[in-house]
């Protein structure tokens, strides 16, 4: 279930580049501050008039001739000051709403301008698309020259301040479009669902799966053990050797640990940090399933999927090989382990399940939500991807998706695509600013700060999506209780997997 490349409809739903739109938004923000001051002053006047009313009322017996008139005049003054407060509230609301709308519109326009090809890019397109093919130049020469143009163009865009996310997205797509056919001249790739022609894949997907096919690494995997990490070291194992999810061992309820209930995306980002740290400590893969039960007894599940932890072909499948396999739409151990964890956990049919992932975890989250087998068995209720390239994943329109992308972070650009524009998808692109510089553009803290800032700036689409997600995941229920199941998983036969890869190296060898 993948999105095909569709350049016409690839505008993000919500874009906020705070650093690139200054004039109107700054003025409106200033106006909002002025009105805040006026509102505070009006409220101060109301309080002071109220105090005077209290004093006159408390001593009115001492001046029976003038007290009634003084009280009436104070009531009149308080009434009109209350009117003023109402008018000022209305004004402030208008400015806040206008600022949100302008921020969306103007920044979307900025993003469109930033995506326009430069002069070098246009000359390159002309040469590569028309001149060289007509001159009969060999394919490798066209590819080599094309990559050179893509590199020069990317450097030029970086110099003129095009954000890293947009720059990499555009040029990776262009580069992959040139490299894919050069690496795999057959024009088709063998995926688990069968032969797929170049035209039905995205450039990055075709290149990734071609490289995996060529090296046989599309066959590396399928031998993973999954267990619940329980306090006291007890493991509840369930082998999925052979590549398929087998009959599972149900996890006892006692394997879950009570935790503070999740209240927001921010709480889940904190759990993501903890899960990642746990995986680093143990050296094996780790994901969490949080069961949050509301006051009415309904349980909703939040699946917490951290980002890449290891380099390549590691014991922990949360590595770069899984990244390439995910981008190439190939079978991979991380998705196998996550599906097995879902099968083992006591998830009742129809229980809402929300997938939240950072980086690689976000791709896995989107893939799980798009998987018909997963949706047939579980009530997939939402996806939150944090710094993840998921533009290629066709998530059904019934599943709300929030995608966070820092414009300084190139990781969400590695799909070479902008996220599709759809009613169920909100993509927040924000300028990480100082957080990017200090903590790194891909850091979870940077994303947490960007998310908080967008909510504070009244980003309407995001607030609506956030509120819907909190309701469906039971995060907004004040009486909810939560328990977490920590699943660990590891590749068990890497030598066997390497042999499998060697045996299957070369295009289309099953």
């Amino acid at each position: 279930m993948r999105n095909r490349l569709d350049e016409s409809g690839s505008t993000p739903t919500l874009v906020m580049y705070s650093g690139l739109t200054v004039v109107d938004l700054a003025r409106l923000a200033e106006l909002e501050g002025i009105l805040d001051g006026a509102l505070a002053a009006a409220r101060g006047a109301l309080r002071a008039a109220g105090t005077a009313r209290l004093l006159v009322g408390g001593t009115c017996g001492l001046a029976p001739l003038t007290a009634p008139r003084a009280l009436t005049s104070l009531d009149d003054a308080a009434g009109t000051t209350l009117d003023l407060e109402g008018h000022l509230e209305d004004l402030r609301c208008r400015v806040v709403a206008a600022r949100a709308v302008y921020a969306e519109a103007e920044n979307a326009a900025t993003a469109v301008v930033a995506r326009q090809a430069s002069v070098v890019g246009r000359v390159g397109d002309l040469l590569l698309g028309t001149v060289l093919p007509a001159s009969g130049a060999p394919r490798w020469a066209t590819g080599l020259l094309g990559i050179l143009f893509v590199g020069v163009n990317a450097a030029q865009d970086a110099r003129r301040g095009v954000p890293g996310l947009v720059n990499v997205q555009e040029h990776l797509r262009a580069g992959a479009r040139l490299l894919g056919p050069a690496v795999n001249p057959t024009g088709r790739v063998l995926l688990p669902r069968g032969w797929v022609p170049l035209a039905e894949t995205t450039p990055v997907e075709f290149l990734s799966s071609s490289l995996l096919d060529l090296t046989g690494l599309d066959h590396f995997g399928g031998k993973v053990d999954v267990w619940v990490s329980e306090e006291g070291g007890v493991r509840h194992e369930s082998s999925i050797r052979g590549g398929g999810v087998t009959a599972h061992v149900a996890v006892p309820i006692g394997a879950a640990v009570a935790i503070a209930p999740l209240r927001s995306v921010r709480d889940v980002l904190r759990r993501l940090r903890g899960t990642a740290a746990g995986a680093d400590r143990s050296g094996v893969g780790r994901i969490e399933l949080v069961a949050q039960r509301d006051a009415a007894g309904t349980t909703a599940w939040t699946v917490v999927l951290p980002g890449t932890r290891e380099a390549f072909m590691a014991v922990n499948p949360q590595d770069h090989l899984s990244n390439i396999q995910l981008m190439g739409d190939e079978r991979d151990d991380l998705l196998l382990a996550a599906k097995q964890a879902l099968a083992m956990a006591p998830v009742s049919p129809g229980d809402p399940v929300v997938f939240v992932g950072h980086s690689q975890g976000g791709i896995a989250a989107a893939e799980l939500a798009a998987d018909p087998a997963v949706r047939a068995r579980f009530g997939v209720a939402g996806v939150v991807s944090v710094g993840s390239p998921i533009g290629q994943v066709a998530i059904p329109e019934t599943v709300p998706v929030i995608s966070l992308e820092n414009v300084d972070d190139v990781v969400p650009a590695l799909d070479g695509l902008a996220n599709p524009s759809a009613a169920n998808r909100v993509t927040l692109q924000f300028d990480g600013g100082a957080h990017s510089a200090v903590l790194g553009p891909h850091d979870l803290w940077t994303y947490e700060a960007g998310y908080d800032r967008a909510l504070a700036q009244d980003a309407v689409s995001l607030i609506e999506a956030d509120s819907g997600l909190r309701a469906v995941a039971n995060w907004s229920d004040p009486g909810a209780t939560a328990r977490v199941y920590t699943f660990e998983f590891a590749r068990t036969d890497r030598v066997g997997s390497v042999l499998e890869a060697i045996l299957h190296a070369g295009y289309g060898r099953r």
Binding site: L31, A38, A42, A49, T51, T66, R69, H87, L91
Partner: protein, 86 residues
């Protein structure tokens, strides 16, 4: 508990001071580079707020006079010739 009625005038004066601040803020709350239908609606709403502020200012001025008369009556009435605030 002893309540000094002269504090009521101080209260009204504080309210007037705060209202002046609100009016000063409103005086500079122009939309300037913001144009279009939304800005027009904003300008209309801001003018209504200014009218409210002027009415509130007039009523507070009147309330101040009334409360001052009340204070004078308190200071001369009911066997307190020296006044409450002396």
């Amino acid at each position: 508990m002893f309540i000094d009625p002269s504090s009521a005038v101080a209260g009204v004066m504080a309210a007037q001071y705060q209202l002046d601040r609100a009016m000063e803020a409103l005086a500079v709350a122009d939309p300037e580079p913001w144009q279009g239908a939304a800005a027009t609606a904003y300008t209309t709403a801001r003018d209504a707020a200014r009218v409210s502020a002027h009415v509130a200012e007039a009523r507070l001025r009147h309330a101040r006079e009334c409360v001052r008369a009340f204070e004078q009556e308190c200071s001369t009435w009911a066997g307190f010739p020296g006044g409450w605030h002396r």
